[in-house]
């Protein structure tokens, strides 16, 4: 179970990404972070805190549940059905630069669903994407604008992201999947 990123490394990576965001967007004006549930949300909150330190400004942060937007091809009969949680975006996204935040980018289908959901909320100016880990194997033309770490993986492997806010500790590991998987 190789550990790809420990707590310290995650912290440094998020700091680096925050700086990249500020640089790319020339500040944080009109910016809003939207974390994709579940683990995208604490990552978004951490980024918001770092951005506040860097730019001296509060950055609006929201949480997006994409369960209702999943597509047919996301069915792979594994594990219990995720429970639909509330989406909380307590600000208007019209005309804003939205930064979607997720923990792992894999096939790209979650991000596609998140884009569909966001469009139902309004008309953002731009949408950018932050991921902590990009593990390859895209099935859709989706690209992350900010990547914490690129980790080439095989389909028999999986990335586990654990965050203190949810799992009690910070850790990113690469594991084998038990049983046969395509």
């Amino acid at each position: 179970m190789p550990i790809l990123m420990d707590s310290e490394r995650i912290g440094r990576t998020l700091t680096r990404i925050a700086h990249e965001i500020v640089e790319r967007n020339r500040g944080v004006g009109d910016l809003a972070l939207v974390g994709v549930r579940t683990r995208g949300v604490p990552i978004a909150r951490r980024l918001a805190a770092i951005l506040r330190d860097i730019a001296g400004q509060e950055v609006a942060t929201g949480a997006l549940d994409i369960t209702l937007y999943r597509d047919d091809l996301m069915k792979a009969a594994v594990g219990p059905q995720p429970i639909v949680r509330r989406t909380e975006i307590p600000f208007s996204i019209d005309g804003r630069h939205i930064v979607l935040v997720d923990d792992v980018l894999y096939t790209g289908r979650t991000v596609r669903a998140a884009l569909d959901a966001l469009i139902d909320f309004g008309r953002p100016s731009t949408i950018q994407l932050v991921v902590l880990v990009d593990r390859g194997h895209r099935e859709l033309p989706i690209k992350a604008d900010y990547v914490g770490k690129n980790v080439p993986t095989s389909r028999r492997e999986t990335i586990h992201v654990r965050l203190a806010e949810i799992d009690g500790e910070d850790e990113v590991t690469l594991d084998q999947i038990e049983g046969e998987r395509a």
């Binding site: 209702l68 937007y69 792979a76 219990p80 059905q81 995720p82 997720d102 980018l105 096939t107």
Partner: protein, 317 residues
């Protein structure tokens, strides 16, 4: 995260009697997320896109049918409303034949309201489509029970340990049955009240307190639920007059005062003002009757989603 079921067993929702406490919690939690959808500018999610839902109503109903239709459309399902007039029944097509004919068009869900208890069970055994009970005879009205529970939970934060009083024509009410099954399963203390002529046999065996004194039922209650007195019951000789019914059992402001100060007043509708409930109570600050209606859409969205929308999912990005 609460200890909840991950999905509903089976393809149907025939009654609260068949649900576990865990499944009830799942539905209520999902309904919370669905309620948020209804507050967006675009009140639509694609969760049931491409699914067909048929609303097959053998009894007239604007309220419930509209609620289901809105719920189905908000989930992007294709909906069909079929209202069977009494003439179709007289013409002799059986319920099973009607359903099998509809099934030939591959609906994913049939929402059935029917005058006979057990009609939904009959269809569930016969059809491949999932059957949602929108009210069968005197038996159950599970989505009403769920939206009532959702409303109580929304206002009080929980169901366990609350005192809930239900007053009215208990004998003939499917809303009553669904509610007592649900509330007892979730650990509420349930008091039921009505004239002895309208009290179902064996009611104490369900685990509720039964009384013919409405004051005893509502004392210290957290929630008071009034049931509709169907005006035709008077012809059935169950009680002498509506006037006397209101005098003995009607929910008046004086009786409401016996409950907790923050008690909520509920009614599944439609109301008979001045029969089971005084207007001041129905329109007063404690009344959550309109919330019940709003919550009905969210709860029905949750039920439809859990039966037809989910399916297997990867928890993978």
């Amino acid at each position: 995260m609460s200890d909840t079921a991950a999905r509903l067993r089976g393809k149907d929702l025939l009654g609260i009697a068949d649900l576990t406490a865990s499944e009830i919690t799942l539905i209520l939690d999902t309904a919370e997320a669905m309620k948020e959808v209804s507050s967006r500018p675009i009140k639509k999610v694609p969760a049931l896109r491409g699914k067909t839902v048929i609303n097959l109503f053998y009894e007239p109903s604007t309220r419930t049918r509209t609620s289901f239709e809105v719920a189905e459309k908000r989930l992007s399902a294709d909906t069909l409303n079929i209202a069977i007039g009494t003439s179709s029944v007289v013409k002799g097509e059986t319920l099973i034949d009607t359903a099998l004919n509809l099934e030939a068009m591959s609906p994913d869900i049939i929402v059935l309201r029917h005058a006979s208890s057990g009609a939904c069970h009959l269809l569930a055994r016969t059809c491949k489509a999932g059957i949602v009970n929108a009210g069968d005879g005197m038996h159950e009205h599970p989505t009403q029970g769920l939206l009532d529970a959702f409303t109580i939970r929304e206002r009080k934060g929980r169901l366990q340990g609350l005192k809930v009083a239900i007053v009215g024509d208990l004998l003939h009410s499917r809303v009553f049955r669904s509610n007592i099954y649900l509330l007892t399963k979730m650990g509420a203390e349930v008091w039921v009240c009505g004239p002895p002529t309208l009290m179902p046999a064996g009611i104490e065996l369900v685990g509720v307190h039964a009384t013919t004194r409405v004051e005893e039922a509502v004392e210290g209650a957290d929630a008071i639920m009034m049931l509709r007195i169907q005006l035709e019951r008077m012809q059935g000789g169950y009680f002498p007059s509506l006037r006397e019914y209101f005098q003995v059992f009607g929910m008046t402001p004086e009786r409401v005062k016996l409950a907790k100060p923050d008690a909520i007043i509920m009614h599944p509708g439609p109301m008979n003002r001045g029969v089971e409930i005084a207007s001041e109570v129905a329109d007063g600050p404690a009344s959550v009757i309109l919330d019940q209606v709003a919550n009905g859409v969210a709860v029905r969205m949750a039920v439809l989603y859990l039966l037809a929308g989910g399916g297997e999912h990867e928890a993978v990005a």
